[in-house]
């Protein structure tokens, strides 16, 4: 029989994990969902964020979340530069589908190998005084190393949601997703808007990377496990819908946590891809898709 407290703990852990997944996937929800750029290197950028957090934290002892927020502008600049390259090489010539995909595959691989060459395959972790502590409500545990990332992730998702729906630039990003030509006719430059949006997507990777290394130790190839998760979340959430993506993140987190608890942790990696496969086969528009 499944005991009630085990179930409650699994659900609570799943919700916290799912919220964090939303922070991991939100950059891709912008880049892939809104701009149709298949950035499979997104998890690799998140790992770079983790390593930046680790380096600064181990040298100066700053809080990882603060580091993530502080380096986000640098990541934004990096994202803009990558988009310029991507645009010049693929989008302008209309070859983005096959070549663009292989391009990001190559970028992902280069990031991973360079990290391995420079820092090795050791697991790295950060220090912060809240990491070891746990809050308990009744028999349900909320470890702070999960709760802090969850809170930051919710704040990040909310901020991106407000940005996309309330500000001029945010609406321009949504406009470029809906109708690029119409945006051009309104006198706006779609390339400039997309470059801004891509930068924003990569900037979230700095914060997500800091959260990732708070949750647990990180080594360069961890990013690969997140490819399936982020795409599962974005596709299940309906491509670019921020609310949908958040709910999809929670669903995936809870399912993964249940599978780890009741079946075994070694089966958890297949969950995301199973969810992704089922979604693609049964309802490609996702739960909240703009059909």
């Amino acid at each position: 029989m499944v005991s009630a407290d085990l179930l409650a703990n699994a659900v609570a852990a799943g919700v916290l994990l799912g919220g964090f997944y939303a922070a991991v996937a939100i950059g891709l929800a912008i880049v892939f969902g809104q701009l149709d750029i298949v950035n499979i290197a997104h998890p690799a950028f998140i790992i770079v964020g983790s390593y930046v957090a680790w380096i600064v934290n181990s040298t100066f002892g700053f809080d990882p979340v603060l580091i993530g927020v502080a380096v986000a502008p640098l990541f934004f600049g990096l994202g803009v530069a990558i988009y310029r390259l991507y645009y010049a090489a693929f989008e302008r010539t209309g070859q983005e589908s096959l070549s663009g995909l292989a391009f990001f595959f190559g970028v992902m691989f280069i990031i991973e190998v360079v990290l391995i060459m420079v820092y090795g395959v050791d697991y790295r972790l950060v220090q912060a005084d809240y990491i070891g502590r746990t809050w308990s409500v009744g028999f349900v545990d909320f470890p702070l190393r999960m709760l802090v990332p969850f809170t930051v992730a919710v704040a990040l998702t909310g901020a991106v949601y407000l940005y996309l729906s309330r500000t001029f630039m945010g609406r321009a990003i949504q406009a470029v997703a809906q109708d690029r030509l119409a945006l051009q006719l309104m006198g706006a430059d779609p390339v400039r808007v997309k470059q801004w949006a891509f930068g924003l997507g990569i900037a979230t990777a700095a914060i997500a990377g800091a959260l990732l290394i708070i949750i647990g130790p990180v080594e360069p190839s961890v990013g690969r496990q997140y490819i399936g998760r982020v795409f599962a979340i974005v596709v299940l959430g309906g491509m670019g819908s921020i609310q949908g993506m958040f709910i999809a993140g929670l669903i995936l987190g809870v399912i993964e946590s249940m599978v780890s608890t009741f079946v075994g942790p070694s089966w958890a990696p297949a969950v995301a891809f199973g969810v992704l496969g089922l979604t693609l086969a049964l309802r490609p528009a996702g739960l909240f898709g703009r059909q």
Binding site: L85, A102, G106, L280
Partner: protein, 314 residues
């Protein structure tokens, strides 16, 4: 290249490979050549679906590992000889390829690529949890005593891999230059238009996906005997998938010779760098070559050559 020249070249290469085993003792060369040939076989296979038909497969390592683990399972259960194991690996890979072919009914472009990646991870999780073939701990396999008339087992494996790769290149050329290949090219350029023009798109996609899967399974089948220790990390190595994509992309995807050129260039560079610099650098170099080539020469080396020739004749 005319047919006579093509078959003549294949025969000459095979004869040269056989002659090599009589002349050179040093096992390192067979190791290096085996790895280059294995990568070439994977690249030729990837190109049949990716290059000819236009469906990007990120799950190459999954097919490769299926071939390798078919060998492990059947070797442990029945102790079959190598030729039968290779056939079995090809059959398993081909069947899974057929399944992937059916995926193309619903999934196009990016979604198909991600689904193949998903397939590879799901298979990896299955293998990790399948204790009969060693699970996550891996599986040791003893090198068989017998190796025909060759001096060592690795020499025989090298000749086997040479034969398999040459066969794959021949199949790839036949597919590319036949009526079937023109159908595949039509699907790549515009699937709806091809369907309207009477190309049996589903049938062709299924053939192309099955052939790709079978070749990759065949490439993986001798792998356990080559490394003598297989675990999911080595069999599902991302490096295998990256190589399988990078080599055709660098050589040129539209023509059958593209992956062959790409594999010769990248594979040789890798082996040289592995010896002279370091084995991490050898991995990095593929990534860099891939990114450079697709940004600067999207048609690959074959495309560059064709452009040069067009300019020369003008």
């Amino acid at each position: 290249m005319s047919s006579a020249v093509f078959w003549g070249t294949l025969a000459a290469v095979f004869a040269a490979g056989l002659a090599l085993t009589g002349l050179v003792e040093n096992e390192y060369y067979y190791n290096a050549l085996y790895l280059i040939l294995q990568a070439m076989l994977m690249a030729v296979a990837w190109n049949i679906l990716g290059g000819f038909t236009g469906y990007v497969n990120f799950g190459s390592a999954g097919f490769f590992a299926m071939g390798a683990y078919t060998t492990v399972a059947l070797h442990k259960a029945l102790g079959l000889p190598l030729p039968l194991l290779i056939l079995a690996g090809g059959a398993v890979g081909g069947l899974v390829g057929l399944g992937v072919g059916y995926l193309t009914l619903r999934l196009k472009g990016v979604y198909f690529a991600i689904a193949t990646l998903a397939m590879a991870i799901v298979v990896e999780t299955l293998i990790n949890n399948w204790t009969y073939v060693g699970g996550a701990r891996g599986f040791y396999i003893l090198t068989p005593e017998k190796h025909l008339w060759f001096d060592s087992y690795i020499q025989m494996l090298f000749v086997v891999m040479l034969l398999l790769t040459l066969a794959a290149v021949a199949v790839s050329r036949i597919l590319n230059s036949s009526r079937l290949g023109r159908g595949l090219a039509a699907i790549r350029d515009d699937e709806i238009a091809a369907e309207c023009a009477g190309v049996p798109t589903l049938k062709l996609k299924l053939i192309s996906a099955s052939v790709m899967g079978a070749m990759m399974g065949v490439a993986g089948a001798p792998f356990p005997f080559f490394v003598t220790f297989v675990d999911p990390v080595s069999a599902f190595n991302l490096f295998i998938a990256v190589n399988a994509i990078a080599m055709p992309m660098i050589g040129g995807t539209a023509h059958w010779i593209g992956p062959v050129i790409g594999a010769l260039l990248v594979g040789t560079t890798q082996e040289v760098v592995k010896v002279t610099v370091s084995s991490e650098m050898n991995v990095l170099i593929v990534g860099i070559m891939l990114v450079l080539f697709i940004t600067l020469a999207p048609q690959g080396i074959v495309g560059l050559a064709q452009r040069l020739r067009a300019r020369g004749s003008r």
